[in-house]
Symmetry: C2
Subunit: 361 residues, 2 copies
Amino acid sequence: MSRVWNFSAGPAALPQAVLERAQREMLDWNGSGASVMEQSHRGKRFIEMAARTEADLRSLLTVSADYAVLFLQGGATQQFAQIPMNLAGDGDSADYIVSGHWSAKAVAEAAPYVQVNTAASSQKDDFLKLPPRDGWQLDPRAAYVHYTPNETIHGVEFHDIPDVGTVPLVADMSSNILSEPLDVSRFGLIYAGAQKNIGPSGLVVMIIRRDLLQRAGRPMAKIFRYAEQAANDSMLNTPNTWGWYVAGLTFQWLHAQGGLTVMAERNRAKAALLYQAIDGSDGYYSNPIELSARSRMNVRFTLHDSALDAAFLAESEAAGLMALKGHKALGGMRASLYNAVPLEAVQALTAFMQDFARRHG
Amino acid sequence: MSRVWNFSAGPAALPQAVLERAQREMLDWNGSGASVMEQSHRGKRFIEMAARTEADLRSLLTVSADYAVLFLQGGATQQFAQIPMNLAGDGDSADYIVSGHWSAKAVAEAAPYVQVNTAASSQKDDFLKLPPRDGWQLDPRAAYVHYTPNETIHGVEFHDIPDVGTVPLVADMSSNILSEPLDVSRFGLIYAGAQKNIGPSGLVVMIIRRDLLQRAGRPMAKIFRYAEQAANDSMLNTPNTWGWYVAGLTFQWLHAQGGLTVMAERNRAKAALLYQAIDGSDGYYSNPIELSARSRMNVRFTLHDSALDAAFLAESEAAGLMALKGHKALGGMRASLYNAVPLEAVQALTAFMQDFARRHG
């Protein structure tokens, strides 16, 4: 079949131009006579590509020399554990803001390595809003403050960077990195699983302030230590070379689109169009999130009658709209609108939604 | 340029048929209208592919139901740490056989998590031979015995599975898995970074006897616990979906070749041809490894005069023979002859070597 409009929450849509280039270069990358997958990561060609990819990310996000950029493995979930292993010493505590599924998971995976202080949580509100900043119980002696700027499953997003004083702010940006310009200098550590806005799964991109690399953390194998990875250009062992390569193609594509200011405009327009279709449906569709906390990346919606869900999913798939089923914990629908999802996809979705409502009354 | 003969030690050559299929399916995999990289790992299509890939590996190696098969991340190096984290409790010791660079690295990364007993080492022989089995100082109370059946850098290989009694035998088979039939029942745990004989880097395949999943190990995040990954079909978090897919294509290719008996014959023939070219060169080329310990996968050789190394590398590359430079720790040359390297590649290499020797006297 031809290409569909892909609203998957992750692994998610990639830019078609990126896929086409990866396809062209599959058997003979960069004049080498071999695939990028068949290259030693110690070889000149790979090292040049890896360095260019880092440079392209740095220029997209205006990352200063005060920060190291790492290309790691294990997904954001492994970083839930590695972050306290690296940043917290014996007896240290860390503050966590719980605003949905993923920040709660970050707490659970950190617990063996640091004393977790849940400084704020919106669980009692079913994560339909964000914990108001003035209620956060922050500890000025905390090793760091961890939060999740966008919750992929719950569909809530922080639209400002919280001020947490001098304690390093750590952010899991898996589902909204590169969706708009970012003031990196406000953060101690930013990390993101690649499979939403960067590239294929199996790669984690991390931006870490260099002073944090000096923290002793706890006794552990070298492979887990960010300072070791930074000292070895993320090649302490063989990295995910394919993931690194596709990430590089995506960064080049983002530059070609005009950078993150352009992407931010597109992302705002896409989300606005879909939320308008939901809000303007006279209750046929609805989104439960507090207006100020709505995610631009992951838009939840329910049908007024859940008995129609199966028909909605079957008909949307037949119409070339892929992966609209909501997360199993919440039901309903979800459309993820990452960078690689064009406005046309959202136009096709909203047209389908209006048509579906008319036909199913 | 056209495809070269690729002797990279890893990431290494992949079967051309696998690359061609991945290329064809890049934009529209399995009739989905999207790339395999753009699929949710929770989706029906991906889960079916993942299950088939596991089944194909099980049939290639005749893996019984007593073993779980895991698809993990982080490379073999991360497993150097995770294995003691999972298999050794507080106060436990484990026996390690050190036969080269990688088994020594396994010791270093395990040390924070288990009391390491180096039961045997061939370091005093510069790893030119294997530590003789009758000298191993094994502890019958050890949590496990770890060894490296093939040392990618040093070019030595065990040609028999050592008998270690009832203590679980753990093997890093990164560079020789699937190169010949294997009696999996002799092992407690087999693991392999994919980037040599399986697929792209960023994926680790593990075969673990189910009783070992019951070991408590030490307190740690769930993401590091093999039992959790086994209970979740290696999808406790988003796996390396591309790596899993390419591994599946490779397993299908191995079945199409006739399975591991056929691959073993080819691998023997390839290694024999290259070692004959070295041994029959009247000392122009030489391999320093004890005959009984020579690796079929990674063939080291030096030129009689290292002043010729640069010319050898430049001319071989110009002749379409890629990645023959030896590891920087050892110098000289190395040709890796994994499954995806055909006999024709070795024929081209030996012809070049003879021609080079004639021309450079």
